[in-house]
Symmetry: C2
Subunit: 385 residues, 2 copies
């Protein structure tokens, strides 16, 4: 099998980009990544995006972005896996390289969310859940996460303050990331004083609606040498992906992300590593509860102990299990289809030793990207070459 | 490289499925294909779909369909390339098999269009064009095709009656396909008497809005032997895909589908065949004009001679270049994201010798699937094993 290597990364700041359209953001991130990799053309393009049809009335993103980036008559496609679209696009890009059909592949994740009315944005995001068996009955996507949070607190005896610690950690790290949407540290009090969105979930438990794009360039280890020095190469050592029931009512266990477990096991096996070998974790904290569940399902914490890691300070940049090292979804921001690619870019920074909030001597990093309420999850393991 | 082989196909009739939802259609086609292949599980799922978010307010189709088909915790993703989503999904499924990461891959194309108001459906379909530089100014997707048709007629001296022959051929063949939406032969007069949708393009120049799903199961030649006899195997011998400018105003040549040419050249090269080796062509006749342009750009006809093939009767089932052997988009119907997979299923039928409208001794077939106004095109070559 061909060994896939990331040789370039690019991104835009996450935020409310009123003067840029979806194509502007995607092209900026893409061209930055190509410049970083030292390539002036690519063999194909994968676009991670969740809901451009709804948000900006535009599909055919493969053609749109490849065309406007001046990439010529290449294959280009959009991949959608709800909020895991970005992580999935990265994995599909890797697969293209591994297939032997393409040598240099670009992946860009992009979402332009602020052009929609906020009420519509909430509606479009809910398309990640089961439209006929969940949304039809009036539940929102936030409400589904709030139900999970309440159950978690009840089952394991945690408080809202305990879960708030995930947001505090994310903001502490995001404050050092120039590309983050929120660069201001917060306290538990900030979270507790913020209004309930769906009780017990508060505004500061939730990641923001945002615009942004991030991109990576993937090639084979062999080919990588033509473009960059070894210091710039990061191997995609392992990857896994799995689905679970799309609606929560059919989920046998509401407090365990089985798809994350299956995806992580595949990724660990492919990379030949265990969870203890990993130096940092970019997990999917769309809501604080999802950070806790993610840590448990990928094997960092035992069941019910995810939030304990936050209480013990182990998730901090100098802890045993640093997470959200550049702010995570909560503080860097969550332009949904782009998020998995942002995680990848940030992991590459850490492994190259050039992160603005560096994990010392990071050699192996993990990214985990969730679509729906745990219904579509990617885990990717990156390693310094 | 691993040789990809299709071992099972399944589909639903194309039509207005008022009592079935998107998931019902997709699951039916998928399970039919699995039964045909004799597999009871698959390693991953690719879903071809253009605009489920807009049409039925549902994204995350990978999880939705894999979950409801009972496929377990597998990787599952939706791929979107406008109306070429189906053909693209097939190619991505092939790539997954070629990557060595997955052995048995399912691909399902699905679109549920009739749940939307017809005026909204027209709007959603237009998302395949450039929202900011075409649609914003009031042009519709049909109008873009009408402009192309008018230019083609003017440039090469064809009449509306000439182009109508593509629709007549499609209906003649569709009449023999039990899964086709329209099973009634028509005449040039039928087309000419139908109302203008966007002059010179009439209702019967256009493919219908429809619901449907089609699926294929892909594996390696080696693995195929475990499941089916050789008579059931069809090799994916070659494939290519390319984009072009998303908006027509930036296209240097309005009467030539460059993306189809590039895609076809890649596919011919990979398969080691030339256009003369191919026994039938399932091209993308969303509008009659696109059938003519497709034949010219993939090398079946010289420039300006595509419509001549129709006039000479060469596109009929007993002609030199049979096209739309089971009705094409015009008569079988065009549930957009499913279309490319329908074409694949029909080509497999022909190559197995089990088509309801059989091309005698068909050994090699070609499918060509277009997204946008020629901005994203797939060409796939299938061969009897």
């Amino acid at each position: 099998m061909r060994k896939p290597v990331i040789i370039g990364v690019g991104l835009t700041p996450v935020g409310e980009h009123w003067r840029l359209s979806l194509r502007d953001l995607a092209v900026e991130a893409l061209l930055n990544a190509m410049e970083d990799a030292g390539v002036d053309k690519v063999d194909s393009l994968y676009v991670g995006n969740m809901a451009s049809g709804s948000f900006v009335e535009q599909e055919n993103l493969g053609a749109l972005i490849a065309d406007w980036a001046g990439l010529g008559n290449i294959p280009a496609v959009k991949v959608e896996a709800a909020c895991a679209s970005g992580g999935t696009a990265v994995q599909e890009g890797v697969k293209a390289v591994m297939s032997g059909l393409e040598d240099v592949v670009a992946v860009v994740g992009v979402e332009k969310m602020t052009d929609a009315w906020p009420s519509d944005a909430t509606r479009y995001l809910a398309y990640a859940a089961d439209a006929e068996w969940e949304l039809f009955h009036g539940v929102s996507f936030v409400a589904l996460n709030a139900l999970t949070m309440r159950l978690y607190m009840k089952e394991y005896g945690y408080t809202e303050e305990d879960l708030a610690l995930f947001a505090v950690n994310a903001h502490a790290n995001g404050a050092k990331n120039p590309y983050a949407m929120f660069k201001k540290p917060i306290t538990v009090e900030t979270v507790m004083k913020s209004p309930y969105v769906a009780n017990p979930l508060k505004l500061f438990d939730a990641s923001p609606i945002a615009d942004g794009a991030a991109a990576v360039i993937i090639t084979t280890e062999e080919k990588a040498k033509e473009f960059v020095d070894k210091a710039k190469m990061v191997e995609v050592a392992g990857m896994g992906r799995a689905i679970d029931t799309i609606n929560l009512a059919n989920r046998k266990d509401l407090l365990f992300l089985k798809a994350a477990k299956v995806a992580a096991e595949r990724a660990y096996k492919m990379a030949g590593v265990s969870v203890d070998d990993i130096d940092f974790f970019e997990v999917h904290d769309a809501f604080t509860i999802m950070a806790a569940l993610s840590l448990e399902s990928i094997g960092v914490a035992e069941r019910g102990k995810g939030a304990m890691l936050a209480k013990e300070g182990q998730i901090a940049i100098d802890g045993d299990y640093p997470i959200q090292t550049l702010g995570g979804l909560k503080a860097r921001g969550h332009p949904v289809g782009a998020t998995g690619v942002y995680q990848t870019v940030e992991a590459v920074w850490q492994l190259r030793g050039e992160a603005p909030n560096q994990v010392p001597d990071a050699e192996i990093g993990l990214t985990q990207n969730i679509g729906g309420t745990g219904s579509n999850i990617t885990v990717t393991i990156l390693r310094r070459v």
